[in-house]
Symmetry: C2
Subunit: 231 residues, 2 copies
Amino acid sequence: MIEDTYSMKINEYLPLRDIVFQTLRKAILTGELEPGERLMEIQLGEKLGVSRTPIREAIRKLELEGLVIMVPRKGAQVAQFTEKDIQDVLEVRAALEALAAKIACKRMDDRAFLKLQLAITEYEYAAREKDVETMIEKDVEFHETIFNATQNDKLIQLFNNLREQVHRYRIAYLKNVGESELVHTEHLELLDALKQRNEELAEDIAAKHIQTQCVSIMRFIKNKAVITEEE
Amino acid sequence: MIEDTYSMKINEYLPLRDIVFQTLRKAILTGELEPGERLMEIQLGEKLGVSRTPIREAIRKLELEGLVIMVPRKGAQVAQFTEKDIQDVLEVRAALEALAAKIACKRMDDRAFLKLQLAITEYEYAAREKDVETMIEKDVEFHETIFNATQNDKLIQLFNNLREQVHRYRIAYLKNVGESELVHTEHLELLDALKQRNEELAEDIAAKHIQTQCVSIMRFIKNKAVITEEE
DNA sequence: AATGCATTTGATGTATACAAAATCCATTTA
DNA sequence: TAAATGGATTTTGTATACATCAAATGCATT
């Protein structure tokens, strides 16, 4: 009873700054706020119905996360994300996915395996209906399950950070049927390696999987660049 | 001339929040602010001679970095860092060091090799005089040189973050002569592997090097726990 | 003496006020 | 006509004021 009240309160209570933080973050990641766009405190405050204080505190967090950059005496603007930034992030993420796969090999139990299998299957269903939103969701679920299995909180934290950094570029590239099937295949392979408890193989597949993504995203960006230039 | 003025201004101008951020961060990492200690805004503001606003914004960043945790309606307190946290961080760092070593293998030039050699030598000199401060400095320099050689900004950023997370626990364990010699030896081995451009070997040594550190720090903490209990 | 309730204190969360800097636009001058 | 200058406007950086909540204190009652 006491725990119930307590946990309720935790979920219930959210400072405005955290709501603003999540709101702005989502807006940046979905592209609603475009790279280079200025984040003006009063304007955002009016839009969200809060004062400058929570806005500023949210911006401080976004700043540390690298989603916005501060120009002295000019305020915040949405960070530009170059191709190199994406490659850098994915290079690191590949290493972390490999690490996660290695650790998960030791620690995953049947329940976790079933979770992975479910995510894979639901991904497949979504892919058939070209429901990209759900596909991404299930893809995230697949990787999240592996990271959670490591029980390494720092690793999980970094994964969440890196994942979101490239999120905006993943939204669209899965629309390509070829890519989406490749993702499916690689997920199956990884699950298999994990079940075999073959650490080296799992590491290898996990890293390669991200490298594949990197190539896909790069291709996607290059195409998009051409498209948006026409607009 | 214009560039000069400009760059001067960049270095010259620092918002109070950033000064406060760096100050508090250092205080936490050096242990001046102890784990569990509350960070009260008014009190800190009086101490540092600023108002609550910059204090709060600094705390938001420390919060995202994981150095302080927020208790709803109770404010910030210095994060407790358990043994598991250290192990988690070092497990991740080992993977990142391995990645850095692999990439550095491809990219390091003679100048970088000389920098490493210099750091190693200066470390050795400092070790002879039991100048722990300089030893740590040179150790950091060694690893930093490798990470910088990767030219992967995200990797460098994460390294800086992880490095600082365990900094407070490294201050003392190098005092042990045996540990300090082991560090020296492993640095030499890594430099050798890098010069050979042997990626697999370099990865391996780099990861093992951090694992060694992890074991040392754990041993150090266990000893310290006994000591501080007596106090 | 212990418990329960009211008051008070003090801290956080949020909003607003003020100052300095940067930007923009119009006017002026060469 | 183009460049420069000066003031108005806007925005950030910082400080302070107000509201809300939590815990502590103290007093009264049992």
